[in-house]
C-alpha cells in the first residue's frame, strides 16, 4: 500500500544523493540508467505557480513517466492530478510540428525560412510605415526566464517599442501594483513555510483546494497537527476550499473593499494595532478616488499619492463601521468584529492568502493595498509564520513576467521605463544607446488587443499563451484580429488553439523539457531544468524563434550567445543585485530551487526580516528597505469602497464569476489533450443556486442560455456540483474551448494595474 516511513526515507536519501551529485547527474543525457532504462531529470511542473518539483523519466527520446520529486521542498514527492499526467501533455495527437502560413482560408505548411522571412518582412514593413509601436509581442507567465528576457530585450532594446505584455496582466498585475504601491518592490515577503508555521489563515477570493492543491494539502496538514489552526474562507461562492475551512464568510461581490476597511476600523477603534510597529515602519497615503473602469479605448489613469497622517487614516476608516460594511457585504456586523479581533490577536500567527478574487477586480490594486493595511496595522508581517501571501497561477508569472519585467512599463528587477536611471542601467547592461529604450509605456494587455482591433497595432506575435480564449469581451478581440487591412497575427504554440484559429502564421513551439528552462514560483523560488527530449517534428523553442526574428531584423548583435540560456541568465542576473539577487546559474542546476534574494549562496525565506533578509541590518527588526522614497517604510493606503464596473440590474439580474477547476489548467489546451483528464471533467457547466433554479423552473442538468451585454452561451446547469453558487450568482469555468464564457465577460479593468475583472459582470439566465 503506502510506502512506510522507512522506505520513504530511503527513497528521499536516494533522491538527495542524486541532487548532491550535481549537474552531470541531473542532466539526463549523462544520468545513470534506472531499472527500466529510464533516465530521470529534474524540472518544475509545467502548470501552476506552486512550482512542484518533478522527476521526468525519459526513454527512447520520449517522456515515458513523471513523478513528484521527493527532494523538492515544495511538494516532497507529491503532485496534483495535472502534475500526475505531465508525461502526456506534450503528446497530444494534434501537436504542431511544422510552421503554417495562411493562404486564404487554409493554413499551409511552410519551412521555417519561409515563415520567418514572411514574419520579418511584416515587422519591417509595419515599422517602416507606421513606426515601432505598430508591432507587438504578447507572452505569458509560462515563458521561461530566458524567453521572456530575450523578448523584452528585442522589443525594448532593439525594435524600440514598449509593446510587450504578458498574460500575467490578466492574472496578477493587481498583486504587482499592490506590492509596488505598498512596499516599492514586487513579490511576497513570506514563503510556503508559513503554511506550516502559522495558525490562522484568511483566504480571500482563493479556491486553494482546487487551484493550489498541493499547498492546500500542506495547510490542511498544519491544522491536522495543531487543533488551534483556523482557516477562514472569504468568498462569493462556496467551493471545495469553503467546505474544508473552519468558517466560510460569504460576501456580496466587490464588497471585500468595505470588509477590509471595516476590519481596519475595528482594529483601530478597539486599539488592537501595534503602535510601535506603525511608528517605525509605516507611512500613510491617500490616492485618487472615483478612478473609472478602463472601459473606453485608450483609457489613461495616473494616481496622485498624497501623504496623510495616522489620524487622517483613522478618520478615513471611521465611515467603515461593521454595520456599514455589513449592509454592503451581507456579512453580519458581529462577525466582522469577531474576525477583526482574530486578525489582531497577539497570540495568533496570522496569514492572508489570495488569488484571482482579489487580482481580477476593477479595484484590484486597492484591495491588495487593503489587506496589507491590516497586516501593517497589526505588525503581522515579515515574520516566520505570519505574512500576507499572494498565490500565483502560472509557473513563471513571478520568475519571468514580474521579475524579468515583460510588461509595457517595466524593465528587469522592479525597474520601469519611465525612470531615466533605470533605462540607463538597462542600456548599459545591454550595451546599447539609452535613447533606444522608449520612456513611455504603451498598452496594457486589454489595450494592446484594442489597438489591434482599431488597427493601431498591425503585427502582433503571441507566444506561450492563448489570448483569443482568455481575453475578456472576447468577441470584439477575436473579430478585431481578423479585420485584415494589414493586420498580421503570429501565434507560437504546441497545439491548435482558439488563438491559432485567427493566426496568419502558426509557429510550432518546443515545450517544457523539450528545451532548457528556468521558472520562478510564487515563493520567489527559481528552478532550472535541462532539455531532456527533442521537440517533435520541426518545433523549436520560443527563445530560438525570438532570436531568429532579431537576427532577421538586424538586432542579432543583442544576442551574441553561444550557450544562450546560461549566458542570458548571467546577463539578467546583473539586474538583480540589491534585494532581488539571483545565484549563479550553476547553483540552480544543483539545487531544487532557491528563493531570492540569494546572497553568498544563501536563500531568503522572509524578506525585510532581520536574521533572514541579508539587506536588513542588525537591530532593525523589520525594514522595508526597498521603499527608499518613504524612508524604508511600507504604506498604509486610504482606499475606499467603490462599486463594480457592471452590477446586476433588472435586465441582467445575475453576477457572473469565472475561474478554474482542479483538473484543467487555464484554457485547457494541455490538460484537454490528456484523455484521462478529459474524461474526468469533459465540459464546462453553469453553477447556479438551487433556489434561483427552482424559481425559474430550471432543473439540474437542464440547458440554459446565459447572456451578457457582450455575448451568449448555452450550458447545462449544475445545482449540486463541487462549487455552489450563492443566490443571484452563477459560476462558469473558462477551460472549455467549445464554450467561450469569456465572450460574456466585461473588459473593465483596474485603472492602476490594468487587470480585467473576470469575476464580476451582469448576466441573465433563461431556459435554453
Amino acid at each position: 500500500m503506502e510506502l512506510n516511513r522507512r522506505e520513504f526515507l530511503k527513497a528521499s536519501a536516494a533522491a538527495a544523493a542524486f541532487a548532491a551529485a550535481g549537474a552531470s547527474v541531473l542532466n539526463p543525457k549523462l544520468s545513470v540508467a534506472g531499472d527500466a532504462g529510464i533516465k530521470w531529470g529534474k524540472a518544475p511542473c509545467r502548470f501552476c505557480g506552486t512550482g512542484c518539483g518533478v522527476l521526468v523519466g525519459v526513454k527512447g527520446g520520449k517522456i515515458v513517466a513523471t513523478k513528484g520529486d521527493p527532494a523538492a521542498p515544495v511538494n516532497r514527492g507529491l503532485n496534483c492530478i495535472k502534475g500526475y499526467f505531465l508525461s502526456k501533455v506534450l503528446y497530444g495527437k494534434d501537436r504542431l510540428t511544422k510552421p503554417l502560413i495562411r493562404k486564404g482560408d487554409k493554413m499551409v505548411e511552410a519551412s521555417w525560412d519561409e515563415a520567418m522571412t514572411l514574419i520579418a518582412s511584416k515587422f519591417k514593413e509595419s515599422i517602416a510605415k507606421h513606426g515601432p509601436d505598430s508591432v507587438a509581442i504578447y507572452g505569458s507567465g509560462q515563458w521561461t526566464v530566458f524567453e521572456g528576457y530575450a523578448a523584452l530585450k528585442l522589443f525594448k532594446g532593439g525594435i524600440g517599442t514598449n509593446n510587450i505584455e504578458p498574460n500575467a496582466r490578466l492574472c496578477m498585475a493587481s498583486a504587482v501594483t499592490g506590492f509596488m504601491t505598498t512596499f516599492a518592490s514586487d513579490e511576497p515577503m513570506g514563503c510556503y513555510d508559513d503554511l506550516d508555521l502559522g495558525d490562522t489563515y484568511f483566504l480571500w477570493g482563493a479556491n486553494m483546494a482546487e487551484c493550489h492543491p498541493v499547498l492546500f494539502s500542506r495547510m490542511i496538514d498544519n491544522r491536522l497537527k495543531n487543533p488551534d489552526v483556523r482557516i477562514i474562507d472569504f468568498g462569493t461562492r462556496r467551493t471545495r476550499t469553503s467546505q474544508m475551512a473552519d468558517q466560510y464568510i460569504r460576501f456580496n461581490p466587490q464588497t471585500d473593499l468595505a470588509l477590509l476597511n471595516a476590519i481596519a476600523h475595528v482594529i483601530i477603534k478597539e486599539k488592537l494595532y501595534d503602535e510601535s510597529f506603525i511608528k517605525k515602519h509605516v507611512a500613510f497615503k491617500k490616492g485618487k478616488e472615483n478612478i473609472g473602469y478602463g472601459l473606453e479605448d485608450k483609457f489613461k489613469f495616473a494616481d496622485d499619492p498624497k501623504p496623510i497622517s495616522f489620524d487622517d487614516y483613522k478618520k478615513f476608516v471611521e465611515k467603515y463601521t461593521p454595520e456599514y460594511a455589513s449592509k454592503l457585504s451581507g456579512v453580519p456586523a458581529a462577525k466582522i468584529v469577531e474576525l477583526a479581533r482574530l486578525y489582531a490577536d497577539k497570540k495568533r500567527k496570522v496569514n492572508s492568502l489570495w488569488t484571482m478574487g482579489f487580482n481580477q477586480h476593477v479595484r484590484g490594486t486597492w484591495v491588495n493595498n487593503l489587506v496589507y493595511n491590516v497586516h501593517l496595522l497589526t505588525g503581522k508581517i515579515s515574520r516566520p509564520g505570519e505574512n500576507p501571501m499572494s498565490l500565483t497561477g502560472q509557473p513563471s508569472a513571478c520568475g519571468t513576467a514580474r521579475e524579468v519585467g515583460t510588461f509595457t512599463h517595466r524593465l528587469p528587477a522592479d525597474m520601469v521605463v519611465t525612470n531615466p536611471e533605470h533605462r540607463a542601467k538597462a542600456a548599459e547592461i545591454w550595451g546599447i544607446d539609452v535613447k533606444r529604450i522608449p520612456d513611455k509605456p504603451t498598452y496594457n494587455a486589454t489595450e494592446m488587443f484594442r489597438a489591434l482591433d482599431r488597427g493601431d497595432i498591425k503585427v502582433i506575435w503571441s507566444q506561450v499563451t492563448n489570448p483569443f480564449q482568455s481575453l475578456p469581451h472576447l468577441n470584439r478581440y477575436r473579430k478585431g484580429a481578423r479585420k485584415g487591412d494589414g493586420r498580421f497575427v503570429i501565434v507560437s504554440d504546441i497545439y491548435p488553439t482558439k488563438s491559432t484559429e485567427v493566426a496568419d502564421v502558426i509557429l510550432p513551439s518546443a515545450s517544457w523539457v523539450e528545451k532548457e528552462g528556468f521558472f520562478g514560483n510564487a515563493e520567489r523560488r527559481g528552478q532550472q531544468w535541462f532539455k531532456m527530449v527533442d521537440a517533435p517534428g520541426e518545433a523549436k523553442s520560443d527563445l530560438w524563434q525570438t532570436m531568429e526574428l532579431a537576427r532577421r531584423l538586424g538586432h542579432g548583435n543583442l544576442f551574441p550567445y553561444k550557450y544562450a540560456e546560461k549566458e542570458i541568465f548571467e546577463e539578467y542576473r546583473k539586474f538583480t543585485s540589491g534585494g532581488k539577487d539571483l545565484a549563479p546559474y550553476e547553483a540552480y542546476v544543483k539545487a531544487r530551487g532557491l528563493r531570492w534574494p540569494v546572497v553568498n549562496g544563501k536563500e531568503t525565506l522572509w524578506r525585510y526580516a532581520e536574521g533572514h533578509d541579508p539587506y536588513v541590518k542588525a537591530g532593525e527588526g523589520v525594514k522595508f528597505y526597498k521603499n527608499k522614497k518613504d524612508d524604508g517604510r511600507a504604506v498604509i493606503w486610504a482606499r475606499p469602497y467603490e462599486p463594480a464596473a457592471e452590477s446586476p440590474d433588472k435586465q441582467y439580474p445575475f453576477w457572473l464569476c469565472t475561474g478554474r477547476v482542479l483538473e484543467h489548467w487555464h484554457t485547457g489546451t494541455m490538460t484537454g489533450r490528456v484523455p484521462e483528464i478529459k474524461r474526468a471533467y469533459p465540459a464546462a457547466v453553469c453553477e447556479m443556486h438551487p433556489d434561483d433554479a427552482k424559481r425559474m423552473g430550471i432543473k439540474n442538468l437542464q440547458k440554459v442560455k446565459i447572456s451578457s451585454r457582450r455575448g451568449t452561451i448555452i450550458l447545462p446547469v449544475d445545482l449540486n456540483g463541487r462549487g455552489k453558487a450563492e443566490k443571484g450568482n452563477i459560476f462558469v469555468a473558462f477551460f472549455d474551448e467549445t464554450k467561450l464564457i469569456n465572450e460574456l465577460c466585461i473588459d473593465a479593468y483596474c485603472p492602476i494595474s490594468g487587470e480585467p475583472d473576470y469575476k464580476k459582470c451582469a448576466v441573465k439566465v433563461e431556459k435554453a
Binding site: N79, I220, L224, Q243, R679, N720
Partner: protein, 220 residues
C-alpha cells in the same frame, strides 16, 4: 460470506484500521478481482440496472426487454445486454465506465417503463439505489497515495453526502495531508459517475451490488 478472502489485496484489518465500514469490507473481499476491470457484468453477474430497477430476480421476471428506457435516456447510458448475458439477454443495463447514469431529475427511463421493472413512481434521484461505489484498489488510488486527485469526490453528483473527504496526516512527506475519499453507502445511489471519471486505466472505484444492511447497536 467468506470474510477472509483477499482477492483485492485489501486485508480486513487494514480496512478496519482505516475506518471503513465492516459490512462494506466484507462485501468487497467477496467481490473478486475481475470487478476492477471494465465489465459488462461482474464476477457474480452484477448488472448495473437503470434507476428504479426492482431487485435483480424480480427485475428479470418483470422486464419485457422493450428498450423504451434506453430510448428515453438522453445520454445513451442505457444499453440492451447482448448474447453473452444468458438469461439477462436483451435487458437494459449501464456500463458506467463507458457512460454512467447522469441522474436526470425527472428519471425519464423509469417513467418510460411499461412493465414496472423500473419503478416509474420514483421521484427523488437521491432515493435511487442502483448499487454502491467502492474503492476496490486502494493501492492504485492516487488520492490514497497523497496526490491531489479526488476526481471521484468532486464529480460525485451527491458530493459531500455520498462521498466525503477525510483528511489525514501524510507521514511520507511530513507536511501534507492525504485527502481520502470515503463513500457512504446510505447515500450512494450507484450512478457510476465516479467509476467513469476515475483517472486510472482500470478504475479503482467501481459500482458494485449494494451489500445487505447488517443492523447492530453501534451508532458511531
Amino acid at each position: 460470506m467468506d470474510s477472509n478472502t483477499n482477492h483485492t489485496g485489501i486485508t480486513r484489518r487494514r480496512f478496519l484500521k482505516d475506518g471503513v465500514l465492516l459490512p462494506l469490507a466484507v462485501a468487497i473481499a467477496g467481490g473478486g478481482v475481475s470487478t476492477i476491470f471494465l465489465r459488462r457484468a461482474d464476477a457474480r453477474g452484477f448488472y448495473l440496472r437503470p434507476p428504479g430497477a426492482l431487485e435483480e430476480r424480480r427485475f428479470l421476471a418483470a422486464c419485457i426487454k422493450c428498450g423504451k428506457c434506453a430510448q428515453a435516456c438522453p445520454y445513451d447510458s442505457i444499453r440492451m445486454a447482448g448474447a453473452g448475458a444468458g438469461v439477462a439477454i436483451g435487458t437494459p443495463h449501464i456500463i458506467a465506465r463507458e457512460t454512467p447514469c447522469y441522474l436526470c431529475p425527472d428519471l425519464p427511463c423509469a417513467k418510460a417503463c411499461p412493465s414496472g421493472a423500473l419503478d416509474g413512481k420514483l421521484e427523488d434521484v437521491e432515493k435511487v439505489r442502483m448499487g454502491t461505489a467502492v474503492i476496490v484498489d486502494r493501492e492504485n488510488c492516487l488520492s490514497l497515495r497523497g496526490l491531489r486527485c479526488e476526481v471521484c469526490y468532486r464529480q460525485c453528483p451527491l458530493i459531500d453526502n455520498a462521498i466525503t473527504i477525510l483528511p489525514r496526516h501524510n507521514q511520507r512527506t511530513g507536511v501534507h495531508s492525504i485527502m481520502e475519499p470515503v463513500i457512504h453507502r446510505d447515500k450512494c445511489v450507484g450512478c457510476g459517475i465516479c467509476e467513469n471519471a476515475c483517472v486510472r486505466d482500470k478504475p479503482v472505484i467501481v459500482v458494485m451490488k449494494s451489500p445487505p444492511e447488517q443492523k447492530d447497536y453501534y451508532e458511531f
